[in-house]
Amino acid sequence: MWGRRARGVVAALAGLGLLAAGCAEPPAADDPNGPIRIGAAVSDTGKYSIEGQAVKRGYQLWADMVNNELGGIQVGDRKRKVEIVYYDDQSDPEQAVRLTQRLISEDGIDFIFGSYSSGLTIAASAVTEPNKRILFAGGAAADTVFSQGSDYVFSPLTNTSRYTESALRELAKRGVKTIGILHTDEAPMVDIQEATEKLAGELGIQVVGTQRVPSDANDIRGAVTQLRQANPDVLVEAGHTLMGVLTVQTMRSMDWAPRYVVMIQAPTEHSFVEQLGPAATEGIMAPTQWHASAQFADEYFGTAADYRRRYVERYGEEPSYMPPSGSAVALSLQLAIEKAGSVDVEKVRKALLELDVDTFYGHIDYSGEGHPSGLKGANVNRPMLTIQLNAKGEQVVVAPEENASAEIVPMKPWSQRR
């Protein structure tokens, strides 16, 4: 008896699901009196959840600013509020594709804010492209996202191939001649290693040693000893935060301090200084997409420092580079809609390509058809910022020169550190 009832429940459940799917309402046309609807499939859960939630906060901070302070986006002669429809892609590419399709086919949304990883973004763009919907990549920076010839994908982030660029250009001016690279075997770090070697060649800096270590290594003395023997002027370390910590500990134990040290990730994390102490981290540099002390500003968010203040007030913690990336994505949509005076996809796309503005996130100028870089929709002219940790463990922007608030300082020998 029970069995039959349970079977009935399961059948009813399955039937309901099918019904819900089948009777999905046709996509609603844009209502000129209602809010502008934007879709966002972000990773609220799963392995990209930290990054996904950070980007989502950036989107929301922008939406609140537009609705509460501006009263909406100026579209022609009227103001329209914005509404973001969020879905959780669970860091799963299957869900990212599924949700993007849902935003387009069921919710009838024209503008989509993307997820964190480059892979998820490319998968989502395969859905948005043939449907002619604009996808903003709020967290994707790999060159491959923009080398597909997609006409409807945009991102204000600096591409991974340029991560070490501003630091190396500035150091080349200071007469640096040789470089050594220590990197983990993770894919993005290998990309950065390759891009760094290529750039060093262009700048006339000689690569005197490259050492690859497993990402979970806990003893890298062999690799560091080899690099020390090559004695480079600059050491570039490409690895995650723990690898950065291990590298500093190993260099200190060997009493080796190269003139300049650039680490891809660790110095931008507050835990790096907390763990090693400011005396050990002083002088270490790192690339970052954004920093509150950078000399950036626009009329909506104000300066980069104003943005930081707004974020801290709202969320009670310091922003990493990710929330501002999300807000910058959204701000570029707002500027394009205002410029186009319309929410028509083709008009907005054209306006996005024509954008050439300074914002709290830096300059935004999306590349279009036939750009020499071969990238479309990328913010190709925006350099990566480089920060350096000072004696107090604070991050100070040191490159590129026009955004810097201090000069680069060479590393002190270990014996001169307290």
Partner: protein, 349 residues
């Protein structure tokens, strides 16, 4: 009797195998569903309904949802052949999904082969890999096999990352895909139907009985003359080949693959969840588990947002506690018990 053919089993073995496995596999054979003609009729009606469904103006989102359900029915039912029937729980089954996707991706990029030509080659690649890996690994019993397969899964992901020049590494492979959701609806529907019908047939065949005998008592099965190595390897190869086929189709439909996407942990977790929910080792359980899981995920996550995972976790604990053999397995047990009671009453009369 230790011949090389896995299907051979003499009458006593057969009985032993049947006795060992009768309960879960009789499935929905109770009461009104006992009539095979009725069941076949219901199945045909359901299939006919699904065949004409796209004609009722479903949007691409609904078509994608349904084809995802069909795809998972194919995946769970094929995983069930090795993990449920022979009892060799394969925790690294996603490796075949990845191999299928990369077979298609590499042939399209390096040989310039049109995608649809690669589709028959993906299951061949899965089969070859299953033979190479299965022969040594299927000698391991129980959890050791599960862990070894997990190792194979992770190793292949690393290889796909390391051989950048060949696989594209983390830069991945992009298909210039023309995505037709209606076409994929039918393709995945066809696969789901074929795999489920194949499982029904397998369960009734001697080979299927031998698989269940391996699950219940491998040493005993061997002693009774079943070539257990051949039986296990056959199950593993069939299971792997189907999964590789589905992997290649999914890869194309997603338009982009990289090692983290094709060899993703969540696939392994979802497989285990869906099959546990429906009933491991039953014929219809994996299909039901996949359908319920995906439709719940779809409907609840619309209303519950990120609380879905919490809800689902709790629901799964309840299912495992109340219905330890999954929905289908537990229903079959109850039907079995009811039949036994009825038979007891009749005897008492």
């Amino acid at each position: 009797m230790s011949s090389g053919t896995p299907t051979i089993g003499t009458a006593p073995h057969q009985k032993a195998a049947d006795r060992l496995s009768a309960a879960p596999a009789r499935g929905l054979a109770s009461s009104r569903f006992a009539d095979p003609r009725l069941r076949a009729g219901l199945f045909a009606a359901g299939l006919a309904a699904l065949l004409v469904t796209p004609a009722f103006g479903l949007n691409n989102s609904a078509l994608l949802l349904l084809s995802t359900v069909f795809m998972w029915i194919g995946l769970t039912s094929s995983w069930n052949i090795i993990s449920g029937f022979t009892g060799y729980v394969d925790f690294g089954h996603g490796v075949f999904f990845g191999i299928g996707g990369y077979t298609a991706g590499l042939l399209v990029t390096h040989v310039d082969m049109p995608f649809w030509y690669t589709v028959p080659l993906a299951p061949v690649a899965g089969l070859v890999f299953a033979l190479l890996v299965g022969y040594p690994l299927l000698r391991l019993r129980g959890v050791y096999f599960s862990i070894a397969m997990l190792g194979a899964f992770m190793a292949m992901r690393e290889l796909a990352l390391v051989f950048r020049d060949f696989t594209g590494g983390s830069g991945g492979i992009i298909f210039k895909a023309v995505i037709d959701r209606t076409l994929f609806y039918y393709v995945f529907l066809g696969i789901a139907v074929a795999v489920v019908l194949g499982t029904v047939w397998l369960r009734r065949s001697q080979l299927g009985s031998s698989m269940l005998a391996v699950r219940e008592n491998e040493i005993g099965a061997e002693a009774r003359g079943i070539n257990t190595t051949a039986v296990k390897l056959t199950a593993f190869c069939v299971s792997g080949a189907i999964t590789a086929l589905i992997g290649s189709l999914w890869a194309y439909q997603t338009a982009f693959i990289d090692p983290a996407i094709m060899f993703r942990d969540i696939l392994l977790i979802n497989l285990a969840l869906m099959v546990t929910l429906g009933g491991l080792g039953t014929v219809w359980g994996p299909a039901l588990g996949a359908t319920v899981f995906i439709l719940l995920r779809e409907t609840l996550w619309g209303t519950e947002g990120e609380d879905f995972l919490l809800f689902f976790g709790v629901a799964l604990i309840v299912v495992v506690l109340v219905l330890p053999k999954g929905i289908v397995g537990s229903l079959a047990d109850r039907a079995h018990l009811a039949r036994a009671r009825r038979a007891g009453k009749e005897d008492g009369r």
